[in-house]
């Protein structure tokens, strides 16, 4: 009984702390909620924990995928990629790097081995340069 009371107390403390922390952090975050712009419709967070295609396919075809993504998003404005399992991704190099930049050598290991020198990092920020 005593233990149950204790855990109940603990639960309450956690709940109250969490709510206070959340409110305080939200109140003191600056800038983001201000000035509703006119071209706004809807922005939703993306789930970057999934891969867009099986690893074997990506190993062989990532350059075609990136090429297709670049052309369709930049030139026709079709920025949403729908994977075979129905999940949606933004067609952006940052979608890939969102997970894969965890490994700083993700791109470089293979490219060095295969002696290919893509020009991506002349302009885009490589996983090596991400802070």
């Amino acid at each position: 009984m005593e233990v149950m009371m204790k855990s109940k107390k603990l639960l309450w403390t956690i709940a109250v702390t969490a709510i206070v922390l959340f409110t305080v952090l939200h109140v003191f975050r600056k800038g983001e909620a201000e000035t509703p712009p006119s071209p706004v419709h809807r922005v939703s967070l993306i789930d970057s924990t999934k891969c867009i295609a099986p690893a074997a396919f990506m190993r062989a075809n990532h350059m075609q995928v990136l090429y297709e993504w670049r052309n369709s998003s930049v030139r026709t404005g079709n920025r949403v990629y729908i994977a075979s399992n129905g999940s949606k991704f933004e067609k952006s190099l940052n979608t890939c790097l969102g997970c894969h930049s965890n490994n700083k050598l993700f791109c470089f290991n293979c490219h060095n081995y295969a002696n290919v020198k893509p020009k991506c990092w002349n302009c885009h920020l490589s996983p090596m340069e991400t802070p």
Binding site: L21, S38, S101
Partner: protein, 268 residues
């Protein structure tokens, strides 16, 4: 009796563990949601504002610059734009790269037909940027279609395709395009991680903040102006702020006689 009480303590232990772990998870989750724990240092990937392929020609983005409000000496819009887009600063005129800049009346409106304008108007400095012309000469000059007219009226650059021939620079009557004679990365003093840089040998220009529009934000210059002198909006929407201001004010464009139909308007 003893076995029952043992079972109870075991259950309580498990309960405690569970509660502890849940609390930790909740706290970490809250931290991540409030931006305390950085999830990823690059730009957040978000589903864009336009879910599907947009209809070409439905939107035409435009800008109205109220030069009466624009303060002499204030360069906040220029600084905000150039910072947000990693525009290099080589500190010399020959290598200069610019997306938005301030210039004299004579340079911005060299063919304005008004004679004997007041010295106050002549002495002010005026904001200039890519006009995102409805009938853009630069996109017609580009041999590789690296620069092209977007579905929403923005004259866009695909830097991957630019071969650096500079035909577009010759074609643009407004000097809105700059060439990267050197590696721009050496001259970006405060780089941001949310936008790529360019490389040596490509032309660059204002993109009307298409990178911000896709996230539902206003252009960086519009947002940065302390006097709210810049109005950005859809010229095809008759109820938009910019259309209302265009209807109620006398405005002018740069070199309208060339027939390029600029999307940037000025109140003098």
């Amino acid at each position: 009796m003893s076995s029952v009480s043992d079972g109870n303590t075991m259950m309580n232990e498990q309960r405690r563990e569970f509660i502890k772990k849940t609390a930790l998870g909740v706290l970490v989750g809250l931290g991540a949601a409030s931006g305390l724990v950085p999830a990823f240092s690059l730009e957040k990937t978000i589903l864009p504002v336009w879910d599907e392929k947009p209809v070409p020609g439905k939107i035409r983005w435009g800008m109205l610059i109220d030069t009466r409000k624009c303060k002499d000496g204030c360069r906040q819009c220029v600084a905000a734009c150039h910072h947000a887009h990693n525009v290099p600063d080589f500190k010399n005129k020959k290598d200069e790269v610019k997306w938005i800049w301030k210039s004299s009346y004579q340079n911005v409106f060299p063919t304005a037909s008004q004679q004997f304008v007041s010295p106050e108007i002549q002495d002010r400095s005026y904001l200039a940027l890519c006009n995102h012309c409805a009938d853009s000469p630069c996109t017609k000059a580009c041999p590789t279609e690296a620069t092209f007219k977007r579905w929403d009226g923005i004259v866009s650059m695909d830097y991957h395709r630019c071969i650096g021939c500079r035909f577009c620079m010759a074609a643009c009557p407004y000097g809105s395009r700059s060439f990267n004679w050197q590696d721009p990365r050496t001259a970006i003093h405060d780089p941001v991680t949310t936008y790529p840089t360019r490389e040596q040998g490509v032309v660059e220009k204002c993109n009307f903040c298409s990178d911000r529009l896709v996230k539902g934000l206003q252009p960086a210059c519009t947002e940065a102006c302390p006097e709210h002198a810049l109005t950005f909006g859809d010229l095809n929407d008759s109820r938009s702020d910019i259309r209302r201001l265009l209807e109620t004010n006398e405005t002018m464009q740069r070199k309208p006689e060339l027939g390029t139909k600029p999307s940037v308007f000025y109140i003098i």
